[in-house]
């Protein structure tokens, strides 16, 4: 199924415009709610979650300045050095919108452990969505939503993705990611 430009939502256009700039500077993934929404999950969201590889301060400042030059602004600070030093390096997320707009937002975090890195390294473009952005794997999204996040909307997102990919999902891969989530994020040993 090929999607036409006219089908694109405000979120789709925001995501593609933003990712096009980030892609010039580092590897990234879009994960969590927007993965489900871009697969037709019928719920709204005001932000899109992005994880980027752990870039240096100078690399991040270049990315930040490129985003500013292209009409985005950061809610935390217009100074890339501050955004990196006060937020990202401390594992806090930062949020970008189009200049003068309150939403949608892109919430960015630096990759913080091997789980994030694995997700980034196995990133993929997903033809079903019709979007030119890199997503984390469907299995990864299901695993995070079921094992770590667990809110009602997350379980519903996971259920939706399970139905869409009922004939393709790799359950072993989901189990493996869930094990790593328990070990690395929940500090539990199986």
């Amino acid at each position: 199924m090929k999607r036409e430009i006219k089908d694109k939502t405000i979120l789709d256009e925001f995501a593609e415009d933003f990712c096009k700039i980030v892609d010039k500077h580092c590897k990234y993934i879009i994960c969590s709610g927007f993965v489900a929404i871009s697969h037709g999950r019928s719920r709204g969201t005001e932000d899109i979650d992005m994880i980027i590889e752990k870039v240096s301060e100078s690399e991040f400042i270049k990315l930040h300045n490129d985003l500013i030059k292209n009409g985005f602004e950061c809610m935390q600070s217009q100074d890339g050095k501050k955004v990196y030093a006060y937020y990202l390096i401390n594992k806090d997320s930062v949020r970008y919108t189009r200049k003068g707009e309150f939403l949608p937002e892109m919430e960015i975090k630096l990759a913080k452990d091997e789980l994030d890195l694995e997700q980034i390294n196995s990133r993929q473009k997903i033809p079903f969505t019709g979007l030119n952005v890199y997503f984390s794997s469907i299995e990864g999204n299901i695993a995070f939503k079921e094992e770590l996040l667990g809110a009602e909307k997350d379980l519903e997102d996971a259920k939706h993705l399970r139905i869409i990919y009922s004939d393709k999902i790799n359950e072993d891969k989901i189990k493996l990611i869930k094990q790593k989530i328990r070990r690395l994020r929940l500090k539990k040993n199986d």
């Binding site: 089908d7 405000i10 979120l11 037709g40 005001e46 309150f102 939403l103 009602e152 379980l155 259920k159």
Partner: protein
């Protein structure tokens, strides 16, 4: 835990539709866009009021 039975059934029904019909995006687009258009309109109006920006920061915290 997923909500009640009828809600659960609705999720299944819609996911099946998305899986099997190529026009799902056309059906979904107005709903997704409307949510952002309305929220954006409210935030902009609120920003023009006294204490508006402070309220927006509080609202954004709730939505995260």
């Amino acid at each position: 835990m997923i909500r009640d039975k009828s809600h659960n059934e609705q999720i299944e029904r819609w996911a099946d539709y998305v899986k099997n019909n190529s026009d799902w995006k056309i059906k979904l687009k107005p709903f997704l866009d409307a949510q952002l258009i309305i929220a954006s309109r409210v935030y902009k109006k609120l920003a023009e009021t006294k204490e508006g920006r402070k309220k927006i920061i509080e609202l954004r915290k709730i939505h995260r």
